[in-house]
Amino acid sequence: MSGKEYRTITDVKGPLVFLNKTEPVSYNEIVQLRLSDGSIKNGQVLDTSDDQVIVQVFEGTASVDRQTGVKFLGDVFKLPVSKGLIGRILDGAGRPRDGGPEIVADDMADIIGAAINPYSRQSPESFIQTGISAIDACTSLVRGQKLPIFSASGLPHNDIALQIARQAKLVGSDDDFVVVFCAMGITAEEYNFFVHDLERTGALENAALFVNLADDPAVERLITPRLALTAAEYLAFEHDYHVLVIYTDMTNYCESLRQIGAAREEVPGRRGYPGYMYTDLAMLYERAGLVKGKKGSITQFPILTMPGDDITHPIPDLSGYITEGQIVISRELHQKGIYPPINVLPSLSRLMNAGIGPGKTREDHKSVSDQLYAAYAQGKELRGLVAIVGEDALNERDLQLLKFADIFEDKFLRQSRDEDRSIDEGTLDLAWNLLSNIDTKFLVRLDQKWIDKYHPGEKKGEEE
């Protein structure tokens, strides 16, 4: 493709530049804009026809004028990839941000990424122990899963994400995770928090960071996660790494998407977000998983803050329909001083059943988890009733369940930021201990054989 520079800009609107052009330009092609002061901006073709081309400018259109030169580079956006990405900090457009040299590319990878053939996928079924009881017992994570953290402003989602990044391991395996961290529009303060923590624990050497901060161009956020995932795919499927991708904050990403949609005068869907947001998000989230014949894997932890704590807002809602479950952070628990404030009731891991049980975690895991849920859910519901009628009106079963809800929050959910509980003694045995506060006859979700084997008060065959 020619290196011709066009000076045919007709309109500039928000992040978009419209120009008349003379030669065919391909869809999604990358574009370079040379401003009159000599500075360079980058963009991508969003719409192309014989008469007009629409370009989205990643760095924003400040200072663009009709004299600005536009050059079409004849290729779609690509990221230079190599193992050298590990240990590096890049900006939101993939340029070094750590003062280091340019990445020496082993390959150039298209950042849009192709869909994995569903037939070529391998079922995720290796349990990842995070050391956090609420997650390990109730929303167990498996390798290759995408499990977002649904949080809200002012809640400790970053601590939880970091604790997971630090502690995540496969039981009985030494394979470490490589962390790919992708920041979209977070504050410098949050960014520093992440970097310091990764530095403190030595994880930074095993991480690749793609960083777009709150004062970086908003439109750039649309490519930052794609860069991160492209790097993750390369490391996982070309170099057999197990990659843990943490990206934060998806809400900022969606805002940028809306901004582009509005500038193009598209028909908006719910709350002004574009109608194709589901597909767009899927193009990110679906880049998790395992494929046949490759050793590596991609596990995703997107973090999103729910506007107004509203789980039905389009961002968490559409995410929840794509991801394999969600971990919901609760303001109520946080205000009670419980860390991690994970509300297990709306939380869910869809791949849990594939990852737990005999040979993976423990034979009683599923039963215990169901029983914890059921007892806690009923106990919590009773709190509402007690507020109206008082504890006196409760029968024995209800009283026990009510008490259990408190114990569960205090003993099971609560743990310290560096407490790494093992799944069997740390988490499941603890669960049995707490469940023994309820009469066995009310524990209807537990198979008798597990009660005989694990219940501290009913254990058979192991008494002295």
């Binding site: 330009v25 026809s49 849009i112 996928r121 597909t279 046949k292």
Partner: protein, 580 residues
Amino acid sequence: MSTENGVIYRISGPVVTATGIAPRMYEVVRVGNEGLMGEVIELHGEQSVIQVYEETSGIEPGEPVIRTGQTLSVQLGPGLLTQIYDGIQRPLPKLEETMGVFITRGVDADGLDLTKEWEFVPTVKVGDELSAGHVIGTVQETETIEHRVMVPPGKEGVVKTIESGSFNITQTVCKLEDGSEIAMMQEWPVRHPRPFVQKYAPDVPLMTGQRILDFLFPLAKGGTAGIPGPFGSGKTVTQQQLAKWSDAQIVVYIGCGERGNEMTEVLDEFPHLIDPNTNKPLMNRTVMIANTSNMPVAAREASVYTGVTIAEYFRDMGYNVALMADSTSRWAEAMREISSRLEEMPGEEGYPAYLSSRLAEFYERAGRVETLSGEDGSVSVIGAVSPPGGDISEPVSQGTLRIVKVFWGLDAGLARQRHFPAINWLSSYSLYPQALDQWYRDNIATDFPEVRTEISTLLQIEAELQEIVQLVGSDALPIDQQLTLEVARMIREFFLQQNAFHDVDTYSDLKLQYDMAKAILNFQEEGKKAIAGGAQLEDVVNVPARTDLMRGRFEEGYDGRIEGLVAEMSKQIAASMEEN
């Protein structure tokens, strides 16, 4: 055939505009230097608007567009079963062979293996008069399914020659006097329903082994059902349970805009699961279509039609087919996305104004019919709906509920309590029981409808009592009402809850369902008697035999033992009265 060449004028995502050709609506065209498959969806003066079934990055204005003269069609014949396709019937294993684990573009693949030979056994002889839909021979397609080769719609005449033996699906196996030839494969345009003689009223239940569905909210063979529910409420698990256990002979499962890992799970699991009706792997009767959320959106739009056309084809052979579409909301969103690229005037929430008519057309392709050959075949359609925020007042849910006869309403609250399947027994409904009751009386038990009514009445009463309990606590209720609450709890925990991941509990046949329901009513009756005789509620509820009865459902051979367990429970309850 008209093969004109045009050029691309404009590209905007999956929508491409071409000039220089004058195609028909819904004609398939080849777009760009790579010959990507597309379908004409709008004609606009000189311009033809095309939805492209593959990724359009890197395509330029000026590249060629070529007409094919065909409309979007599927290949039908032996080889469909056990296959997994994308939305436009390209076999995914084939795509993996040619392009590796990532789906790139510009690769064509036939829906059926054109070279594989099948053993064709003729069922007609020279001189027979045939009309469209007439079965001319059979092929043992899988261990359990006999594929019936039919005269394609539009052909008829007298048999001149008929072959027997091994043939591939494009070879002629039958010649008619008028010179026309019939092979085992036929093609059919996906957007047109296949013909039949007439539709029957659905009066046979589709058995699913799921207690709440079969017993309280049954679906008839040839019926339609909608499953709306927020994320995490168990739509996909319910759909998969239906695909696994329903007593249809053929299952078509469309994963439309859903998760890749979920399709993988189905693919991994089905070959190992045994069909309780035939004792052979479930895969033998299954066709799968997987167009995951990140695969091209136009192919997602087409996937639903591809699936229903395949379902109709098996129906025409005289089979009962169950079609699952998970999720129709993603299909509707694909329509919305394309509609917005066309800059059409939007209807509600940005969906195109024709949304509800498209939904209706789709569900209308269900039904129990008299096929062209006089057989009885059916397509039952079960569509999952994913309403944003779980609020079913949105257009896709509402459009669906206006058409379907069965509503299985999933409930986030139940899901949070891990009550699965999380189908709300108060809001769900089925309009089929009246039509099916005679079947139940004849085949299961004469009092089946009455038992069902009693169970659902108890649940209704419980809901009313719960409102009082919320205010005053359960101890304030009279003892007989407290017993009713216990009975209702038993219905919920013992009967309605069913563990899809438990080897035994995952499937209950209708007879066992009936026995379990009777066991609950028996508990109620004995309980009432005992309490009237002075027993304490606590003692009645806590008899060990009741716990055994309830836990027993997780054990093999429960259907043989349930009678004994119920008798033991009655005895113990009666004894609790004597203690006092």
